[in-house]
């Protein structure tokens, strides 16, 4: 059951949340500029997390609905087999397997 959103209009939602989301966009831009300014930018940009982030930005500009779920799927491990051991594995926030050849 989807709740009816009759209490506010879309323009009122824009009014209420625009400034904080503008700030979030500037934070992302500033983060990408920061990577450019520091030594080893090329290495950082080759990292699967950087690639995932740039794909996410592209997805946001191209999709017209269900963006949140699409971003979650973009960052997710889509394999189905359990890993043999969790020892030494870290949570990174993106799936390296998405950027291997063949994926």
């Amino acid at each position: 059951m989807t709740l009816p959103c009759r209490n506010k209009s879309a323009c009122e939602i824009l009014d209420a949340y625009f400034i904080e989301n503008r700030a979030r966009m500037l934070d992302i831009a500033s983060f990408l500029d920061r990577i450019d300014r520091y030594d080893g930018a090329g290495e950082a940009k080759a990292d699967f997390r950087y690639k995932a982030l740039t794909q996410a930005l592209k997805l946001l500009s191209e999709r017209e609905d269900d963006r949140t779920k699409a971003l979650q799927m973009l960052f997710s491990d889509l394999s189905i087999e359990p890993v043999d051991s969790a020892t030494g594995l870290k949570t990174t926030g993106a799936w390296e397997g998405a950027f291997h050849e063949g994926n």
Binding site: L3, K69, S76, D77, L78, S79, P82
Partner: protein
């Protein structure tokens, strides 16, 4: 307003936080057993921890007029050490009958490894034998989708566990639909960076409706907020949602899920 926080780690919080909860309207909390922020080196550490959850913490909460319930289990991050996990799994049954223990939790997966699955299987079998409630921890970030699917398949293959007696926690936009379709309760966790925000939690309520959802702070030893549930209630007010709906999400829903355990009482 009255609210229940169904997932908060009060052993990591100060007594000032208990006072904040009490004066803000949160008079019932449930605390799952979890990872302490480091790997414990002996079963004795778990014994002390389970004592703290079932004896010391309810007494500390009671000083502020708060009812403290808990869940007992072996968290998935410490399931990789097979010898230690066997010792801890053997300890668990003696704590489950204590008067403030609601069931097995938070049990689940972290990196979706075979040893984590083995420990989860053992604890699900115990829950099935005892007909206990289950509180499930789903993995973080990129591992969540895969882990949630593995966990749901494991539970659904155990016919003695009814999905309506299981809450699958830390659900997010890519897992809520599948959890709901399979008949489980789901939890939305308000935790900076790695989980959800008040805005996204209210979006989920708007998209999926108010059925079988509980919202929690999961406040613990890291950056987190024991009043996050109330701030999310305020986000609902900001959008014009009625108080009746807010009460349902933050009080009646957790009461309904937790009330399936006969030990759960609200004065």
């Amino acid at each position: 307003m009255k609210a229940i926080d169904p997932h908060i780690h009060m052993i990591s919080r100060t007594t000032d936080d208990y006072l904040k909860l009490a004066v803000s309207g949160i008079h019932v909390v449930t605390e799952p057993a979890f990872w302490a922020g480091y790997d414990r080196c002996s079963a004795g550490s778990f014994r002390d921890y389970f004592h703290q959850l079932t004896v010391a913490e309810p007494a500390r909460a009671a000083r502020f007029g708060i009812r403290h319930y808990c869940w007992i289990g072996l968290n998935s991050k410490e399931a990789e050490d097979i010898e230690l996990s066997e010792e801890v799994l053997a300890l668990i049954p003696e704590y489950l009958d204590r008067e403030t223990v609601l069931g097995l939790g938070e049990i689940g997966l972290n990196k979706n490894s075979r040893n984590e699955i083995r420990a989860l299987e053992r604890q699900l079998a115990l829950a099935a034998e005892r007909n206990d409630l289950v509180l499930i921890h789903t993995p973080h970030l990129e591992d969540k989708l895969k882990g949630t699917r593995i966990i749901m398949d494991m539970i659904l293959s155990e016919p003695r566990i009814k999905p309506e007696r299981v809450l699958i926690d830390h659900a997010e936009e890519h897992t809520i639909g599948e959890i709901r379709e399979k008949g489980f309760w789901y939890g939305l966790t308000l935790y900076p960076h790695s989980k959800g925000s008040p805005e996204r939690a209210v979006d989920a309520v708007e998209i999926y409706g108010p059925d079988r959802v509980c919202i929690n702070s999961s406040a613990d030893w890291s950056v987190s907020d024991p009043l996050a549930t109330l701030k999310t209630a305020n986000e609902m007010r900001r959008r014009g949602h009625p108080e009746e709906l807010i009460n349902r999400i933050f009080y009646e829903n957790p009461k309904s899920f937790l009330g399936q355990c006969p030990k759960f009482h609200i004065a």
